[in-house]
Symmetry: C2
Subunit: 149 residues, 2 copies
């Protein structure tokens, strides 16, 4: 178990890092089939003749995996109260089978909630990189976290 | 098969609608366990004592299902070239087991691509509603589509 990270433990500029995960062809196709059945997510022949030249992961999958990697690699398990949204999500490079992703997250802004006592909103900038350190995705997200006090 | 919708068929202000889908408890927990294991997405007892008062769907799941509903309900299957990002995604209301979602999408802006011939970028505003017509999610997304000409 990681040490718990509460809202009041955070400072603007803090950076959190994640473990790595290799993306498999199987999960790309399974996720695509269930949630994002564009040809280049579910069909190897169709993907081959697409602009991408091969299978790529759904961007929704990359976003969710990026969040999970960061979440499970740090002490937010018992302090997260969810999120109300995302701004400026950018899929910069395709994520392909056998790519290995890891995530860093920087705290950009912090404000104590007025409406919800003992919670605060952290503006978080996620950056997801692959095994050659190319940035494949960035997103800014509003994370609601419990306060210690 | 729907009639194909190409970039040059679109006008600003056009609205597309989707079929409906009922969200099940099983898929909320399965998606959460795989991609977003926050307690209120994977554990009924933990969800009950959370601020949400019960299980809710991962916002990443709601976003992906919203896209799929709209995509498969209209003629974008062979004309979609993917997306480079999302702006202003807002999760406005929790999505709960047995909620039935449907989506409308409005074309907000259109610009022909300079870098990629025979394609254009449609700025699309997605609105996801539940069975009581509450808006549960909105997002603006940049959809790259093939041109006829």
């Amino acid at each position: 178990m990681h040490e718990q990270v509460f809202f009041d433990d955070l400072n603007v500029g803090d950076i959190f890092n994640s473990i790595s995960k290799t993306i498999t062809e199987t999960e790309i196709i399974e996720f695509g089939w269930k949630y994002d059945p564009q040809p280049f997510h579910i069909s190897k022949p169709d993907a081959l003749t697409s602009n991408f030249g091969g299978l790529i992961a759904s961007g929704f999958m990359t976003a969710a995996i990026s969040f999970r990697l960061l979440y499970q690699s740090n002490g937010f398990q018992t302090t997260s109260l969810g999120s109300y949204g995302i701004d400026e999500l950018r899929w910069l490079k395709p994520v392909k089978p056998d790519d290995t992703l890891s995530v860093s997250m920087e705290i950009k802004d912090l404000r104590r909630s007025k409406s919800r006592p003992q919670s605060g909103i952290a503006t978080c900038y996620f950056k997801t990189i692959n095994q050659t350190r190319e940035v494949v995705m960035t997103m800014e997200s509003a994370w609601i976290l419990k306060c210690r006090i």
